[in-house]
C-alpha cells in the first residue's frame, strides 16, 4: 500500500466510524423521544394511543380527587381551551396543587383518560414548565414566561426519576 492509499483508507475508516456512530445514536434518540401535547391536541385526538407522551397544562381548580385508601389520584389539566382527565397512582411532587402548571407523562387510554406514570412540577412556586407557558401564551392566557428567566431548569425533576 502506498502512503496515499493508506491515507485514503484511514480517512474512509474514520468516516465510516463516524457515520455508524451517528446512525446508532440518532436511532437511539428517535426511539426514546417523548412528544409533548397540549390538552387541545389530546381532545382533538392527535395523540397516538399506544405511545408514551407528555401532556402539560394547569391543574383545574377543584378537580383533584384523592382516593383516601390508596395512592390513586384523579385530576384535570387544561390549556384554558380544553380539559384532559388524568389518572395517576403514586406520590405527587411537592408543588402539585390547583392552578399549578404541571407535565404528566404516560399514555391515553380507550376512555380518553390520560394514565400518567410520572407527574412533574417545578420546585418553585412561580415556575411554569416552558411548554405549558408557551401553550398558554398561544391562547392568550396567563404569564408568558417563567417569572424567573434564570430559574434553574435543574429543578424541574420528576419525583420518581430513576436512572
Amino acid at each position: 500500500m502506498t502512503p496515499r492509499q493508506r491515507r485514503f483508507l484511514g480517512a474512509f475508516a474514520v468516516l465510516a466510524g463516524v457515520a455508524t456512530a451517528a446512525a446508532v445514536l440518532l436511532s437511539a434518540v428517535s426511539e426514546n423521544l417523548l412528544f409533548f401535547y397540549t390538552p387541545s391536541q389530546v381532545a382533538a385526538g392527535e395523540v397516538p394511543a399506544d405511545r408514551t407522551v407528555r401532556v402539560g397544562g394547569l391543574v383545574v381548580s377543584g378537580s383533584i380527587e384523592r382516593n383516601p385508601d390508596s395512592l390513586a389520584v384523579r385530576f384535570q389539566v387544561t390549556d384554558m381551551a380544553r380539559v384532559v382527565p388524568v389518572s395517576y397512582e403514586g406520590i405527587l411532587p411537592d408543588l402539585f396543587r390547583e392552578g399549578q402548571g404541571i407535565i404528566a407523562q404516560g399514555r391515553i387510554d380507550a376512555n380518553g383518560v390520560f394514565q400518567a406514570t410520572e407527574v412533574l412540577a417545578k420546585h418553585d412556586e412561580n415556575y411554569m414548565p416552558p411548554e405549558v407557558a408557551a401553550t398558554l401564551a398561544m391562547k392568550g392566557e396567563g404569564p408568558l414566561a417563567p417569572v424567573h428567566p434564570d430559574a434553574r431548569p435543574a429543578d424541574a425533576r420528576p419525583t420518581g426519576a430513576q436512572p
Binding site: 456512530a21 437511539a28 434518540v29 382516593n67 395512592l71 411537592d94 414566561a145 428567566p149 434553574r152 424541574a156
Partner: protein, 684 residues
C-alpha cells in the same frame, strides 16, 4: 446618590456603606479594562517580540483577581447587610435567611454565578502567573493573554447583561427567598467546585491556543499542560460527585443522576477532560497525538462555555428564554461563536505545523488510549445530542419533545463497558507496540475469570442477570488488571516492598483513579439493578416489606425550624429474613426521620428524605402527603451499594490529585525543550 438608609437586619459590625454596590460595579468595570489591556499587550507583545509588553501579563492577571475579590466582597456585604435595593439580593435572600446561606446565596442564581465564574478564572490566572516562572516568557504571556481575553468576554457579559449590583428603587422591605433547595450545605461547595472545574478547562485551552500561536508543540508542552488539566479534572470530578450526592439527599426522592440538561452540561466537559488527560499522556510519552490533543483542549473549553451559558440563560429548557431576554441570548451566541470559531480557524491554519514524531502501531498502549479517547468522545457526543436535540426540534418547529433517561442509559451502558475493557488492559500493554499474541495472553485467564466472578456476583442478587453480570464483570476486569499492573512493575524488582514505596506518585494516582472507576461501576450496577422502591399509603402503625426490610410508620409530628415549619415522620426499619433482591445484612432495627418542610418566605414545600447510609446499602423513606385519617403516602427505598458511586468519584479525584503532584511536573523544564519552545514561540 442615596442617603445611608437603615437596612433591615444587617449586623452592626459590618462596615457597609450604601454605595458599596457601586464600588462593586466599578471594580468589575476596572477589571474589564485591565483584562483588555492585559490581553492586547501580552498577545501583541508575543507576536512582535516586545518584551516590555509581555511583562504586563502577570501584573494585569493579579490586578484582575484583586478587583474581582473586591466585587465579590461587595456583593457578599450587600447580602449580609440585607440591602434589598440591590435587585439580585432582593430576589435571592431575606432577613430570615441564616447568615451562612446569605453568603452562599451570592452564587445561588444567574448573576452571582457568573461573578463566581470570573473570580475562579482570575484565581486560575494568578496560579498560572505564579507557577509559570520556568516557562518561556513568550509562552507564559500568550497563555495569560488568552485567559485575559476569555475573562474580558465574561466581564462584558456580566456588566452589560447580568450585573449583580443592579439597583431598583424603592427598595422592598423584605426580599424573596433563596430557593429552599439551595439552603443546604451541599450548595456551599458544589457550585464553586464545578465552576473551578469548568474554568480550569480554560487553562488547558489557553495552553493549546498558545501552542498554536507559536506553531510548536512538543513533549515539554504536554508536561506543562497536564497538571493543569488534571487539576481542572479533579475539580470537575468533585463537583459532579458532590452534585449527585446533594441531589440524592436534598431533592428528597433518592435519585442520584437524572440526565437532565444541567447535569449533562457538567458531564460533557468531564468526559472530554478525561479524554484530554489520557491524550496528553500520549503526547508527553510518545510525542504523538498532538493535533488531537489540541482539538480536545479546544472542545473541552467550548463545552464548558456551552454548559455554563446554556444552563444559566435557561436556553436548555426552552428556546423561548431567548425571547424572554434576547440580549443575553445574542451575547451568548456571540461569545460562543467568537471563542470557538476563532480557535478552530487558528487550529485549521496552524495544526499542520504540529507533526507527530512517534510512529503509531494499533496494538500498543497508545492504541488503547486512542480507543479510550474514541469511546469518551462518542459518549460526550451522545450526551450533547440528547441534550440539544429537543432544542433543535423546537427551534425548527418540529414539535416539542424531550429525550428521556432511557436514551442515555441505553447508549451509555455499552460505551462504558467498552471503556472498561480498554481501561483494564491498556496500562499493561507496552508503548510503541506489542505482538497481538502477547496481548491475547494477558486476557487468556483474566477475561474468563472476570466474567465468572461477575456472574457469581450477579447470581448473589438474583435479578437482572445480564445487566449485572456485564457490570460486575467489567468492574472485576478493571480491578484485577489494575492489581496485575502493579505486579508487572514489581516483577523485576529485587525487593518488592522497596519497589512499592518507589512507585511514581503519578502511577499510583492512575491506579487509584482506575479503581475509582471500577468502584463506581459496582455502585451504579447494584443501585440501578438491585435497588427497589415502593410508593405506599400507610396508616400509623402499618408496615410494608421491601428488599428484606420491614418499614413501619410510627408517627408524624409537627416541627419548627429556623425559617420553616413542617412535619417529621418516624419510620422504623427492621431486617426480615426473606424476600427482596440484593445482599441482605443483619443490621439491627433503626429509625428514619423523613421531613416535609414549608419555607415561610416563599411558601415552598420541600421533601427531606430520611436516610440511613451504609457501606452495602442505603435505606430511605420520604413523606408524600396526608391521606384519609392519620395516614400518609410514603416512598420507601432500599439502595444497595449506593455510596460506592460517590466513593468511586472520590477515588478518581484523589487519583487525579496524586497524578498532578507527580515530581516530574515540578522539575525544571529541560533546557533543550525550553529553548525549542521559545524559538518556536515566534512564528517564522
Amino acid at each position: 446618590m442615596n442617603d445611608a438608609t437603615p437596612l433591615p437586619g444587617g449586623p452592626s459590625w459590618l462596615l457597609y456603606d450604601s454605595l458599596t454596590p457601586e464600588v462593586g460595579t466599578l471594580a468589575l468595570a476596572a477589571a474589564l479594562v485591565l483584562a483588555l489591556i492585559g490581553a492586547t499587550l501580552s498577545l501583541a507583545g508575543a507576536a512582535t517580540g516586545r518584551m516590555a509588553w509581555l511583562r504586563v501579563a502577570r501584573p494585569t492577571s493579579h490586578g484582575q483577581c484583586a478587583l474581582l475579590v473586591i466585587a465579590w466582597a461587595a456583593l457578599s456585604a450587600a447580602f449580609v447587610a440585607n440591602d434589598f435595593s440591590v435587585l439580585y439580593v432582593a430576589n435571592n435572600s431575606n432577613t430570615q435567611l441564616p447568615l451562612i446561606y446569605r453568603l452562599s446565596a451570592v452564587w445561588g442564581a444567574h448573576e452571582g454565578s457568573l461573578l463566581l465564574w470570573s473570580l475562579a478564572l482570575t484565581g486560575w490566572m494568578v496560579a498560572v502567573a505564579l507557577r509559570s516562572r520556568h516557562l518561556p516568557e513568550v509562552f507564559a504571556a500568550r497563555v495569560l493573554g488568552v485567559m485575559s481575553l476569555v475573562n474580558a468576554g465574561f466581564l462584558a457579559f456580566i456588566l452589560f447583561t447580568s450585573n449583580p449590583f443592579l439597583r431598583h428603587f424603592p427598595a422592598p422591605a423584605e426580599g424573596r427567598d433563596l430557593n429552599p433547595l439551595l439552603q443546604d450545605p451541599g450548595l456551599i461547595f458544589h457550585p464553586p467546585m464545578l465552576y473551578m472545574g469548568y474554568v480550569g478547562m480554560s487553562v488547558a485551552f489557553a495552553f493549546a491556543i498558545a501552542a498554536l500561536l507559536g506553531g510548536r508543540l512538543d513533549a515539554a508542552w504536554a508536561r506543562w499542560t497536564r497538571p493543569w488539566t488534571l487539576a481542572a479534572w479533579v475539580f470537575l470530578t468533585l463537583g459532579i460527585t458532590l452534585g449527585s450526592w446533594w441531589a440524592y439527599y436534598e431533592l428528597g426522592w433518592g435519585g442520584w443522576w437524572f440526565w437532565d440538561p444541567v447535569e449533562n452540561a457538567s458531564f460533557m466537559p468531564w468526559l472530554i477532560a478525561t479524554a484530554l488527560v489520557h491524550s496528553l499522556a500520549v503526547t508527553e510519552q510518545r510525542d504523538s497525538f498532538k493535533r488531537w490533543t489540541v482539538l480536545l483542549a479546544i472542545c473541552g473549553f467550548a463545552l464548558s462555555l456551552l454548559g455554563t451559558f446554556l444552563v444559566r440563560s435557561g436556553v436548555l429548557t426552552s428556546v423561548h428564554a431567548f425571547a424572554a431576554d434576547p440580549t443575553r441570548g445574542v451575547f451568548i451566541l456571540g461569545v460562543l461563536a467568537l471563542a470557538v470559531g476563532a480557535s478552530l480557524v487558528l487550529y485549521s491554519v496552524r495544526a499542520p505545523l504540529l507533526v507527530d514524531r512517534g510512529s503509531f502501531a494499533p496494538i500498543s498502549r497508545e492504541g488503547f488510549l486512542l480507543a479510550n479517547n474514541v469511546v469518551l468522545v462518542v459518549s460526550a457526543a451522545a450526551v450533547l445530542l440528547g441534550t440539544l436535540y429537543p432544542l433543535a426540534m423546537d427551534a425548527f418547529g418540529l414539535g416539542k419533545i424531550s429525550v428521556g433517561p432511557p436514551y442515555f442509559n441505553a447508549v451509555f451502558a455499552p460505551l462504558m463497558l467498552l471503556l472498561a475493557l480498554a481501561l483494564g488492559i491498556g496500562p499493561r500493554v507496552r508503548w510503541k507496540g506489542q505482538e497481538a499474541r502477547e496481548v491475547g495472553l494477558l486476557m487468556r485467564w483474566s477475561l474468563p475469570l472476570s466474567v465468572l466472578a461477575g456472574t457469581l456476583a450477579a447470581l448473589f442478587g438474583g435479578v437482572h442477570l445480564l445487566a449485572t453480570t456485564a457490570g460486575f464483570s467489567a468492574a472485576f476486569w478493571v480491578l484485577g488488571h489494575t492489581a496485575l499492573t502493579v505486579r508487572d512493575r514489581l516483577r523485576y524488582a529485587r525487593s518488592s516492598s522497596t519497589a512499592l514505596r518507589r512507585l511514581p506518585v503519578g502511577f499510583v494516582g492512575m491506579l487509584l483513579a482506575h479503581v475509582g472507576f471500577a468502584v463506581c461501576i459496582i455502585g451504579v450496577t447494584a443501585v440501578s439493578q438491585w435497588g427497589v422502591e415502593r410508593d405506599i399509603r400507610l396508616a400509623m402503625g402499618e408496615s410494608t416489606e421491601l428488599g428484606g426490610f420491614r418499614f413501619t410508620l410510627q408517627s408524624v409530628r409537627e416541627i419548627d425550624g429556623p425559617n420553616y415549619s413542617g412535619v417529621r415522620g418516624s419510620v422504623l426499619v427492621e431486617p426480615v429474613g426473606v424476600g427482596g433482591a440484593g445482599p441482605r445484612d443483619a443490621t439491627a432495627s433503626l429509625t428514619l426521620y423523613p421531613e416535609k418542610r414549608v419555607y415561610q418566605a416563599g411558601g415552598a414545600a420541600m421533601t427531606e428524605a430520611g436516610i440511613a447510609a451504609g457501606i452495602t446499602r442505603d435505606l430511605l423513606a420520604s413523606l408524600g402527603e396526608p391521606r384519609g385519617d392519620s395516614a400518609w403516602t410514603l416512598r420507601v427505598q432500599v439502595k444497595p451499594f449506593q455510596r460506592w458511586i460517590w466513593f468511586g468519584g472520590l477515588f478518581m479525584a484523589l487519583g487525579g490529585i496524586l497524578a498532578a503532584s507527580d515530581r516530574r511536573y515540578r522539575l525544571r523544564v529541560r533546557a533543550a525543550d525550553g529553548e525549542a519552545l521559545a524559538a518556536g514561540a515566534r512564528p517564522a
